[in-house]
């Protein structure tokens, strides 16, 4: 009985025009998105290789330890072919330097705003928006449509248990919707292999997990569609309801969560943080200037009644001490500004993490959010990528700065202009160490953490469980509603 219903559903779907339309649109969109993803990944990889080559060349050409600074680029993630996530929104590079805080800048959308206007359509977008809509089109009249057509009465004039009917409907619709999704997915994989995108075993496992999670998301919408068609009498009513629900689930709930979190937990913007830092710097430099003037005035007072010889002798005697004093004051200020910058950065980052956490909790009331977050996490493209990268870059910056200071000390090269006075050779100016390039063979290199399937799966698990719960609830509701459904 169950197989009869399943086969009938499948046949009914396959001969319907919506099946061919779904198959054509899905195939076109998926293959196009993967093709564009492959091209983007290849372009990003070329950019990355060229940029890192230039950085290496610049490092080799640096002749002073004091002027040594590094620039790190984010390693392109081949999962970008399937899931863009936040990849194009966050910066691609950061300067590694003692005087600057780590900050990823130059995002793809920042560099090429045209891509922001027409955002990249990836696999998750197609599933979230297009496929959920198709699921609604396939299921909105699953039960009430049969009642309206009169086939439900004829069906239940037979010895058919209701559970067989609803389960058969569900499986038949599921297969009818999933086939148009799976075939282009297989073709997309062939495309990725043909273009030799370097996906490791962990990446492939992640791709498989993303496909499974996508099927789970589609399953939710199929169960939800059947549920609504089993609680309404007219297919026009269920279609309208499902359309509104689709808009709420796909667009309103995810954004409402973010907006609510922004209101409930405000965080200073980058510009505000920068403003605070600059105001502090301005204030402390002004204070330093006043103190310096005071010191200079005191010294002038001390020398006021001296003769020219005494003044010259006094200056010779105290020059080094004065220079050291001024240098120390300047360094203290730089340290204070740096400390405040770090503090503000940490506070903002913590605040933003809390705000993001709240936004994610609130937006997860939408299965679409749970799906997108799960897929992005599985692809290593979720919103944690930025902070994880910046944390890793901060750790790298610390080791880089230690290395640089050590080298500066060893070489006695602290930057600035060196003036040598010799009775035989006269004055000699030099810009620190300028003879030949630096030996940077021991310089620490930034190693981005490797993509690990177990790691991303563990992070994505809560969203996957949530999606399972949504699907189970929708199916249970459909089942209960149909048990009470008046088939007349």
């Amino acid at each position: 009985m169950l197989s009869t219903i399943i086969v009938k559903e499948l046949k009914n779907i396959i001969v319907s025009p919506k099946f061919s339309a779904t198959f054509a649109v899905t195939s076109l969109l998926l293959l196009l998105s993967v093709y564009v993803g492959i091209n983007e990944y290849q372009a990003t990889t070329r950019q990355y290789e060229a940029a890192t080559g230039l950085v290496d060349q610049r490092l080799r050409e640096t002749r002073s330890w004091a002027r040594l600074s590094n620039r790190v680029y984010r390693v392109p993630n081949p999962m970008h072919v399937f899931v863009a996530g936040v990849n194009n929104d966050i910066g691609r590079t950061s300067i590694i330097d003692p005087t600057e805080q780590v900050k990823l800048t130059n995002s793809t959308y920042n560099d090429e705003p045209i891509y922001a206007a027409f955002r990249f359509i990836d696999f998750t977008f197609i599933v979230t928006i297009i496929f959920s809509l198709f699921a609604i089109l396939f299921t909105y009249d699953a039960v009430n449509g049969e009642r309206e057509n009169g086939t439900l009465q004829l069906t239940f004039a037979n010895a058919l248990p209701r559970v067989h009917f609803i389960a058969g409907k569900f499986v038949g619709l599921w297969l009818g919707l999933i086939v148009p999704l799976l075939i282009p997915i297989v073709l997309s994989v062939v495309l990725v292999l043909a273009y030799k995108i370097p996906l490791a075993v962990d990446h492939w496992m992640s791709v498989a997990a993303i496909v499974l999670v996508s099927l789970l998301f589609c399953t939710f919408f199929i169960a939800f569609g059947i549920c609504i068609s089993a609680v309404t009498r007219r297919s026009s009513t269920s279609f309208l309801f499902l359309l509104v629900a689709w808009i709420v689930i796909s667009f309103i709930l995810p954004r409402a969560g973010v907006m609510a979190a922004g209101t409930l937990h405000p965080v200073a913007s980058v510009a505000e943080v920068e403003g605070m830092r600059e105001a502090f710097a301005k204030q402390i430099w002004a204070k330093h200037r006043d103190e310096m003037q005071e010191r200079f005035r005191k010294r002038a007072d001390e020398m006021q009644n001296m003769t020219a010889e005494e003044r010259s002798a006094y200056e010779d005697e105290h020059a080094w001490e004065m220079m050291e004093q001024e240098d120390k004051a300047r360094k203290d200020i730089l340290k204070q500004i740096d400390l405040l910058g770090k503090k503000l950065e940490e506070e903002t980052r913590n605040g933003r993490r809390q705000q993001e956490g709240l936004a994610l909790v609130l937006s997860r009331f939408s299965p679409a959010s749970a799906y997108q977050l799960a897929a992005m996490t599985l692809a290593g493209m979720n919103i944690d990528v930025k902070s994880a990268y910046e944390d890793a870059l901060s750790a790298y910056r610390a080791s880089f700065v230690t290395y640089k200071e050590k080298k500066e000390k060893e070489s006695g090269d602290s930057g600035g202009i060196r003036i040598t006075v010799d009775s035989n050779t006269g004055f000699k100016f030099s810009m620190g160490r300028e003879s030949g390039s630096l030996d940077i063979s021991e310089m620490p290199r930034f190693n981005a953490s490797r993509f690990s399937f177990s790691g991303v799966l563990a992070s994505a698990l809560p969203d996957i469980v949530l999606l399972c719960a949504f699907t189970f609830l929708a199916f249970a509701a459909a089942f209960v509603a149909f048990l009470r459904y008046d088939v007349r």
Binding site: T4, N149, A159
Partner: protein
């Protein structure tokens, strides 16, 4: 089952809806094998409610609707194995051909042994043109769909057949063919319970005629008792009398 035992049996069948509407009021009758029972009555008389109770689409408030001795609301699946149903407006799957529809509903009826030739044969028997057998139902007329519905009922090979207004909307030729078909099914020993507005056809084919009004079975007569009577006149007399009594 033993010959002469009722196939359809309504025993004090009563249906009161939640809004207190009394749709059926202690209706009792029986239909034996090889017998056609025609329920006559206007809209809201309770004919379709009776059919719905036999098919367990709704549950009785009181009494029982039995098919082959099985109370529909107590053991609906077993009861439904013994009955085939043809609705007023047969609506099958429009994207399927006549053969595909027959195959699906036969399987639902528990008949998996039929071949394509069996389907063609039964469609020929109900009078559907050969070229329509493999056509999608989307373009079928009501008469053609009705023939498919009867073909499905025949293929189920159940001892009981329920027909809800089967001749409504059929042209005279299709109506005549339909009556002929019912006679042949009766000759096969099927027990047929049919609701209809069509007094002429009811008299023509029924072995027993029941008149229903306001949820009550107000008259029940065998064809022999009706001989020499104008059924239409009788119908109007009973309805009028019942209305007077109710007033």
């Amino acid at each position: 089952m033993e010959s002469g035992q009722p196939v359809f049996e309504a025993i004090g069948l009563t249906k009161k809806y939640e809004d207190e509407t009394l749709a059926l009021d202690h209706v009792s009758f029986s239909v034996r094998a090889g017998e056609i029972f025609a329920m006559l009555g206007g809209n809201g008389a309770g004919k379709t409610t009776t059919i719905n109770l036999f098919l367990n689409f709704i549950e009785p408030t009181e009494g029982e609707a039995r098919i082959n001795g099985i109370a529909s609301h107590k053991d609906p699946l077993t009861a439904k194995r013994n009955v085939a149903f043809v609705s007023e407006n047969v609506m099958l799957y429009p994207n399927f051909t006549a053969l595909q529809n027959l195959d699906y509903f036969s399987r639902l009826g528990g008949k998996t042994q039929y071949s394509k030739e069996n389907y063609h044969a039964v469609l020929r028997r109900v009078g559907l043109q050969e070229e329509a057998h493999t056509k999608r139902l989307r373009g079928f007329s009501k008469g053609m769909r009705q023939k498919c519905g009867i073909a499905i009922a025949i293929l189920k090979d159940a001892p009981a057949i329920l027909l809800d207004e089967p001749t409504s909307g059929l042209d005279p030729q299709a109506g005549f063919e339909f009556i002929e078909l019912l006679r042949s099914l009766r000759d096969d020993g099927k027990s047929i319970l049919m609701s209809t507005h069509d007094i002429f056809r009811a008299k023509e084919v029924a072995d027993v005629v029941g008149i229903m009004n306001r949820g009550k079975l107000i008259m029940q007569k065998h064809a022999a008792e009706l001989a020499g009577h104008d059924l239409e006149e009788l119908y109007m007399k009973y309805i009028a009398g019942h209305i007077r009594d109710a007033a």
